[in-house]
Amino acid sequence: MASSELHAPREEEVRHEHPTPRKYVWIAIILAIITAAEVAIYYVRALEDFLVPFLIAFALIKFIMVALYFMHLKFDSKLFRRFFVTGIVLAFFVFTVVLLTFFLRPETPGVTG
């Protein structure tokens, strides 16, 4: 059997288009602005009550932008995305359970005190 028959094109094989260097620079500028905003709101007393949600939202946006554009997850095979997302979800789930276990059980030997 010819090797071409063994390797019939499938979705995962399709190479998608990568951004241009100019687009990469724009993405970096956006990331820099978000970082500046993160640091700025850290010092704004009026936003104290909303600081944590804002910071988490900004970090999430930066994380996703780097993963999608610089790591090319937006353009590469979905299988690569699944590997990475599985690791993130698993880490988030396991360590949320661990943190909740410790924080919800005050008798746990001095962790939070």
């Binding site: 390797h7 288009e17 951004p19 970090a59 610089f70 599985t86």
Partner: protein, 205 residues
């Protein structure tokens, strides 16, 4: 989104090992490795969150962190991701000189970040925060230390790529090698995005 013509279909690298999925198994292994690294760093971040208020009378996070300084370090590492992706774009269009320039810029920014981390650790040590001072100190130094170790390994890989290119052993057909090192480098960057927010910016009780 506009695209770069040379980046539309990178040259099939001769070292690319296709599997029955049609995907490069080395790249797949790198993504599996990065997925496992999420658990690795997740464990250290969780440990820090558990112990950050246990200072044993030593320095506490609110008083010891120098946010303006760490913000500059974060910016430097973030920009190194840009230079890294520009290095990949350069080799994909066959611009070896451009690739070397961007790779070296990435390594330089990485070294600047590590220099900043050494300065920060030294300052903390002088202010009384050591690895054994408190659970806060231990969890902070272990987390950021392991991240710094990852950045250092990345710098070595970047310099190795520059050396290979100078020796004529890294051409457009080997773009996949640059891409793999790039994935590792960007991962180190996104881990720092989380560390910077959760460890430095989110206030303690």
């Amino acid at each position: 989104m506009a695209t770069h013509p040379a980046a539309v279909s990178p040259q099939p690298a001769h070292e690319e090992h296709l599997t029955s999925t049609g995907l490069d198994n080395v790249k797949m292994a790198m993504w599996a490795f990065l997925g496992s690294e999420c658990l690795f760093f997740g464990s250290f971040i969780s440990t820090y969150l558990l112990y950050r208020n246990r200072t044993n009378g030593g320095p506490d996070p609110a008083h010891i962190y120098d946010i303006p300084f760490t913000s500059v370090s974060s910016f430097v590492l973030l920009m190194s991701s840009l230079t890294m992706v520009l290095a990949l774009a350069a080799i994909q269009r066959g611009d070896e000189r451009g690739m070397r320039t961007w790779l070296f810029a990435t390594a330089f920014l990485g070294m600047t970040f590590i220099g900043g981390q050494i300065y920060e650790f030294t300052t903390f040590y002088e202010e009384g925060l050591k690895l054994t001072t408190s659970p806060f100190g231990s969890s902070f130094f272990v987390l950021t230390g392991f991240h710094g170790a990852h950045v250092s390994v990345g710098i070595l890989m970047l310099l190795a790529l520059v050396g290979m290119s100078l020796a004529g052993r890294l051409s457009q057909a080997d773009a996949r090698k640059v891409e793999l090192v790039g994935l590792y480098w960007h991962f180190v960057d996104i881990v720092w995005i989380v560390i910077f927010t959760v460890i430095y910016l989110v206030p303690t009780e």
